[in-house]
Amino acid sequence: MNRTEVLEQVQDIFRNILDDEDIVLTDESTAEDVEEWDSLTHIQLIKAIEKAYSIRFTSREILSWNNVGEMLDCILKK
């Protein structure tokens, strides 16, 4: 699985969880760029990503992400 595929899959998860088909993610996207992405929906997104890839993030990993790119790096490392 390459980075572009993961980005597309994560984007689909975002669209599904946040109920917004117009969301377009890039490596630089942050919560400020996606209206419905806040501290509450963040945890739902994490749970959905963990489930989709059968992985488990640590608290330290989740809290250190600055943008979608860093989240993707973390998924690809797992």
Binding site: D38, S39, L40, I43, I62, L63, S64, N66
Partner: protein, 491 residues
């Protein structure tokens, strides 16, 4: 030295002139000047605590560098240092703010178990602004540890972030990264210019002064009488006291915040936002996104999020638990009193129905309607206001006994009342009318996406804008003289 005092005005004129005249091309000089002025302002209020402020600033400055050195190399050490720094900050706060309360609570607990213990509360002086600057320091090391910012290498800039005088005593609680970025370049004052920060700052300060001096300080007498003479007040008067207090507190604290933000803007620095029209919230979650934002967002990032991540496999129960703990921390942050614990618990419990019916994590945030809200939305806003007012009855009470007395008199009246000190007719109607006008102005400002209601747009003719400013100044001058301390100065 309160921000609305003459002493502060004279002090600020000197700060401003030196900041923008001889130092205008020197970022470091401006920072050092701000730092010296901040220490002076702090020293005027509580000079004995100045060594503590300087000491903790130095400690966290070097701790930040040590954490960054270990980040990515020795993760365990970086985490240990961050935990140590966090516990030190919390320890300082507990020692100065909560130790006497904890000694009393444990003594009472032992006595209730039949164990005789001596009670020796300590004569600890609480440093002003401690709840605010410890939170700034903790925020700094966590941000460095999370890799969200590099450690600050400029000690003067760092100390200025911690002690910045407009926000030192009562917030807003600034985050290190955006604040320190602004100190990296010099601040200049050019007039006229289209979006002049200094002019906007003067406007916001005037708006804050109006809220505080004209409205909050006029409502305080009625509200205080209801609390000081509860047994001599009619039920309807107490109901009005309870319903008026949210407006008094909002005008007081948001008025202070407007002044702190306005004064900072005059120095070319944008500090954190504290309020976003909270009385137009349509549920309690929405309310907490709009009230004391710099505190609630701090706690969301450093308390609620880590808890929510930790409890993420427990479904709704995990989120409820994280919410309740977070809200109790919000309550206890205000001070060492069981009323604040109860206040936090009350708000935590109010989140349960929102979590269970899904509106807490609603995919679509609460949207504000057009200029005229529907009856349904008005109903939701009024219900939210009522829930806020009930919570603030707990918040306003001096202690649990006073709370019980107030609530029982409100619900059942006082059959033994000999003398009536407070009745509905004493309600300050003119001030209330002004407060309603102000809230209408805020409603319009919210729809125009203005930061505060006095940001009159260029659509207004100059004579119209200046007439409004002069009217506010006039109302302020008519009221000035009987000012009361800011409510949040005690926290």
């Amino acid at each position: 030295m309160e921000i609305n005092s003459t002493h502060f005005l004279l002090f600020f004129i000197v700060v401003f002139l030196i900041y923008y005249l001889p130092l205008k091309n020197h970022a470091k000089g401006q920072n050092l000047w701000l730092l010296l002025c901040s220490y002076y302002a702090f020293g005027v209020v509580e000079w004995r605590m100045l060594p503590l402020l300087i000491g903790v600033t130095g400690f966290y400055f070097f701790l930040g560098i040590a954490i960054a050195r270990n980040n990515g190399k020795d993760e365990r050490k970086a985490s240990l240092l961050t935990t140590f720094g966090t516990l030190t900050g919390v320890g300082v706060l507990v020692y100065f703010k909560y130790l006497n309360f904890l000694i009393d609570a444990f003594t009472e607990m032992f006595l209730s178990l039949g164990l005789q213990v001596g009670s020796h509360t300590l004569g600890i002086i609480m440093p002003v602004g401690i709840s605010f600057f410890t939170f700034k320091l903790i925020s700094y090391i966590i941000e460095v540890h999370r890799g969200h910012m590099p450690p600050c290498q400029d000690m003067v800039a760092f100390a200025t972030y911690v002690a910045f005088f407009p926000t030192l005593l009562s917030g807003p609680i600034d985050r290190p990264k955006p604040f320190l970025q602004q100190l990296s370049h010099n601040r200049t004052f050019t007039y006229p210019s289209e979006h002049n920060q200094v002019v906007d700052g003067i406007r916001q300060t005037l708006w804050g002064l109006f809220k505080k001096v004209v409205i909050a300080d006029s409502l305080v007498t009625f509200v205080d009488l209801g609390w000081n003479k509860t047994g001599e007040s009619t039920q309807w008067a107490l109901a009005l006291v309870a319903l008026t207090y949210p407006i008094q507190l909002y005008m007081d604290f948001s008025g202070y915040s407007d002044m702190a933000i306005g004064v900072s803007k005059m120095l070319g620095i944008q500090v954190a936002k504290n309020f976003n029209y909270p009385f137009f919230a349509q549920n309690m979650a929405d309310y907490w996104r709009r009230w004391h934002i710099s505190l609630t967002s701090w706690l969301t990032d450093y308390v609620f999020m880590p808890l929510n991540i930790m409890f993420r496999d427990w479904g709704n129960m995990g989120m409820i638990l994280a919410c309740i703990i977070n809200m109790v921390v919000v309550g206890v942050w205000h001070g060492a009193n069981w009323t604040f614990v109860l206040f936090g618990l009350y708000h935590g419990l109010l989140f349960i129905p929102l979590i269970l019916n899904g509106s807490f994590t609603s995919k679509k945030k609460v949207k504000t309607e057009g200029y005229l809200p529907s009856i349904r939305h008005v109903g939701k806003m009024l219900m939210t206001y009522l829930l806020v007012a009930i919570g603030l009855v707990i918040f306003r009470a001096d202690n649990i006994i006073s709370l019980g007395h107030f609530v029982s008199t409100l619900l059942m009246g006082n059959p033994y009342m000999e003398y009536e000190s407070l009745e509905v007719s004493q309600f300050p109607k003119t001030t209330f009318f002004l407060a309603v006008l102000l809230l209408i102005a805020e409603w319009i400002a919210m729809h125009k996406k203005k930061e505060f209601a006095l940001q009159l747009s260029e659509e207004w003719k100059a004579w119209g804008r200046y007439s409004v400013y002069m009217l506010l100044v006039l109302l302020y001058l008519l009221k000035v003289g009987g000012s009361h301390e800011f409510i949040y100065a005690q926290f």
